[in-house]
Symmetry: D2
Subunit: 339 residues, 4 copies
Amino acid sequence: MIVILKAHAEQNKIEALTEQIRQQGVSIHYSQGQTETIIGLVGDTTHVDEDWLRANEIVADVRRVSEPYKLVNRRFHPEDTHITVAGRTIGEGSFSVIAGPCSVETEEQIISVARSVKASGAAFLRGGAFKPRTSPYSFQGLEGEGLRLLKIARKVTGLPIVTEIMSENQLDDFADVDVIQVGARNMQNFRLLKELGHSRKPILLKRGLSSTMEELFMSAEYIMAGGNDNVILCERGIRTFEKMIRNNLDISAVPIIKAKSHLPVIIDPSHAAGIAWMVEPLARTAVAAGADGLMIEVHNDPSKALCDGAQSLNPQQFDHLMGDIRRRVAFEEKTLEGQ
Amino acid sequence: MIVILKAHAEQNKIEALTEQIRQQGVSIHYSQGQTETIIGLVGDTTHVDEDWLRANEIVADVRRVSEPYKLVNRRFHPEDTHITVAGRTIGEGSFSVIAGPCSVETEEQIISVARSVKASGAAFLRGGAFKPRTSPYSFQGLEGEGLRLLKIARKVTGLPIVTEIMSENQLDDFADVDVIQVGARNMQNFRLLKELGHSRKPILLKRGLSSTMEELFMSAEYIMAGGNDNVILCERGIRTFEKMIRNNLDISAVPIIKAKSHLPVIIDPSHAAGIAWMVEPLARTAVAAGADGLMIEVHNDPSKALCDGAQSLNPQQFDHLMGDIRRRVAFEEKTLEGQ
Amino acid sequence: MIVILKAHAEQNKIEALTEQIRQQGVSIHYSQGQTETIIGLVGDTTHVDEDWLRANEIVADVRRVSEPYKLVNRRFHPEDTHITVAGRTIGEGSFSVIAGPCSVETEEQIISVARSVKASGAAFLRGGAFKPRTSPYSFQGLEGEGLRLLKIARKVTGLPIVTEIMSENQLDDFADVDVIQVGARNMQNFRLLKELGHSRKPILLKRGLSSTMEELFMSAEYIMAGGNDNVILCERGIRTFEKMIRNNLDISAVPIIKAKSHLPVIIDPSHAAGIAWMVEPLARTAVAAGADGLMIEVHNDPSKALCDGAQSLNPQQFDHLMGDIRRRVAFEEKTLEGQ
Amino acid sequence: MIVILKAHAEQNKIEALTEQIRQQGVSIHYSQGQTETIIGLVGDTTHVDEDWLRANEIVADVRRVSEPYKLVNRRFHPEDTHITVAGRTIGEGSFSVIAGPCSVETEEQIISVARSVKASGAAFLRGGAFKPRTSPYSFQGLEGEGLRLLKIARKVTGLPIVTEIMSENQLDDFADVDVIQVGARNMQNFRLLKELGHSRKPILLKRGLSSTMEELFMSAEYIMAGGNDNVILCERGIRTFEKMIRNNLDISAVPIIKAKSHLPVIIDPSHAAGIAWMVEPLARTAVAAGADGLMIEVHNDPSKALCDGAQSLNPQQFDHLMGDIRRRVAFEEKTLEGQ
């Protein structure tokens, strides 16, 4: 971390500041020029608060050199993290497809979708029981009943289930869920993240619509700081100025996550595009970029879906996509999980 | 709401769709051109799901004509809403300044700040007890103890208190708070919004960093749909590409809110700028734009603040700002509350 | 195009407006509801000005249904456009790699780079003679001398050359260039686009940093409206909030362009990432997304490059990338040009 | 400027790099820590290329401490710049209103608008002769004839004229224009900026839709580096995610420009909002923020305007706005020019 002092800072104030910094267990490198004086902070600066430094009257600017995230950081954990759920491995070298409807609607629907996505090669079943909807007048999910139906579908097909939590209050209800999803709008719901840190469940953490990679890493750090290492990152599109699609898939997120972190990364092309026909080309780029899996919305009858029908594939489309993905995963010399 | 059909849509599918729409209590206007067929939905379309329409195979596009928010909408509630808290009125014609530290640190600190902001003319005391911090390693607030100290400062000064809630679990603890703040990162924490709807407390709802005005209105609609009409909107800067400041104050939010909604709007220039020297010029624009108040961070010793020191004014700076604001509020022929 | 009228618009004003619209050769569908009156414009609305409609006092809103671009539009030109340059085909089914330095520096440098990229499999040589630099103090290119050296490199290697134009004044100097590039900052330099429309040269049109796809299409429409059909679109990264990379490659641009337009599309991963190590993973996603080629910066000694060294590959890195790209192009059953 | 070296950089490569830096006339401060080595560059680093440093294999990161703009910088030119045109002063302490139609349409129209804006208190007449339109099918301006009509309106009213240039080719035609405007889309048309630097005309430089303040300053630096000090900056709204308005007025631009630069700054609320009713509230914020003037679109009959009718005020609306602005300029103790 580098602190740039204002020109003409008084010597006694500089000494007071450097003393305060040293008390935080960090060494100081002091470099005085004609126009600028620079203080370099050496050591573990994770706990040093940039804002606190900026508020000092003699400080002109503060630049972080080392990353503020530690447990998430590949620098301190060079090996790839692999997370195993019901015999499926999520992480480098494997490729896992999570598929299912936006929301669980009926027992018949969820079992039907679960069977068809399993037959096509999905490794996990997804389905929303609690739905975060922009409008209070939109369908909010079957809630507890949705969770119950998901578990029935799991029993019938053997597919582990992935579903979204909306509040730390629901943790008990989610005790029997295989992978707990944190939605994009909750990426910085820090109370929820902290409680998930006390769990040992695999957490699928979705990136916020306008969050930076560093913010995503810091949210994962919240979970890991609580002791839960089972974090899977998920890129699902970012908000841009483009009007032809709902969100722009940030495909660079994959190489960045692989370089900076050891955690697995999953791509959700359905929410990124918001349109069914674009799911397949985006899914292809996810494989090529080096992602560890895909999360795809599939509905038995998209035109009757209670949410996100426009972006859902029907079972035939999903089967076609899986045929293509299977060839591409083999090309990358990875293992398609759940087969 | 307008539904644009695909060219060559089959007649029986069009009829099936229009029948489904009519069943939702909405009338249909049907307009067939050579290249495009358009269905106009007439009536209350608040409950009609755009996504459901888009998922239909014969639908090319859907455009909403009327707003999806109703209780928030000035069209259905032409008079300005005024919210009265401890004798202070928040709403058109009045101007309320909420001031205080980013976080409550000690009893001495909060009482000292409360006394000085009151002397300068603030109508409300703000102070964070639960702090949403990007890093798990940053100071997270004094939590319950912070609430206790805020109430002491209220007792000493008579200033009503505004403080941020982070989860619906905390509602009991906030029973004695005057105005409950929902932070920008929780603007779409729908579980929290729903529970706040069941309360009758005034809610200060901050706009998310990258949220549209419509999304802000829909979040307010969640609270009002629960029966709580006491919603105050707060613009606190949006994320842009600019690197010289933390966020860009979206001053257009004020005339938009005043035109589209009847709810009061407060400007937070401290979080927008992120730098103390820019708080005063931005505060001036808030008055000129027609805002109903300001929320400003003040700390007795910003360089020792445990959070947001860089953007906090010291008591002298705040006093100077209030002198200027007082003249400007008079110029606008509004009443400065709390005097 | 749909025009939504204000409630209570007077009948004589509605008639005046519809008459004005009809005079532009467009038919009218009129749909009156209880709360909303909608006018549908049927026919070729390319020339109807949205702003003009919006300015009418009885108009509440205007929504375009059909695209405002015509010559670029796949709807009116279903077959893919192929552009042939010196025996290389750019367009669907082929894959062309354009490689070379950010700027031409010396005869030795450009010949050396040209020979090595040719040996590795590039089909075109790129190199900047006129450089659009943010700072007036940065190296601005060798200008005319740069063009001369590029032509020598072409003579030596046989590679056709791609280089950037900055003003319509330079058209004569570019008469002997194989593909003229329009940079991102000039995407809406309409004087330049118009003049390029009068040329018959292939134009590589780069998307602006914050431009929408529709704006890109409209800029291509400017060139095509002048009579020049040889337009190649190029996605080179968009500005987002991310700080870890220079720009975010918008990989969705590829399927959108392929769906909406018949023009070829090239991806420039070097400018998107701004960092050499990320060029290869992004290049892989370009092939998978269905792009028709790549544009890649290669320098004989990146650490001595006069511009963009940080994102340039050295010849060994480029050779490695081409080995990978060759396998992937074969996987997609496309032809690698220039072999 | 600070250069952060990679861990384990070899000593001979560090020496080679520091020697290369010294050759550019910059001193070195060298600070070696356990995990990080930092090189501080001391002196005038305006000419040192960040990209060149980043491309060096032992460099991990580069951070600029001092600004890359010099002539524009208030640090090196503490006094406010005032530009005088036909007896009107643009700069701190004065307030100038530039008003007129989006485009010149007829002699009658431009004279009528010129007379009415003069009567209401405008100091300058604006009007477009060459129009940068997104679509090649939209009205492109009267071009040379438009310039001729503007000069007639100037003769009739005595108002100096402001009009937009689109290419350096047009400089001769603009010899008799009082203030030459560079549009937002041309903010980084560097050939044009360079040629304007060789002129001595006052230049009104509009900020690009997604440009940072630093980029705006660098574009002004291009003009000033050519010897032309008469630069007026203009903020006209930035692109954001908001759909209710065309662009978001970035009101923070005013205090930033006033702090970082000595150049005058004008606000264009018409292009920012894109809707007539929002022009007045935004204009009020411009005065309060400390801007040196306004640029406002006025049309004798907005519903018949050939461009931008939706955002144009009619003469009555403009007269009302000027009444309000006059009171506010007096409140700020500034002089309204042209009275």
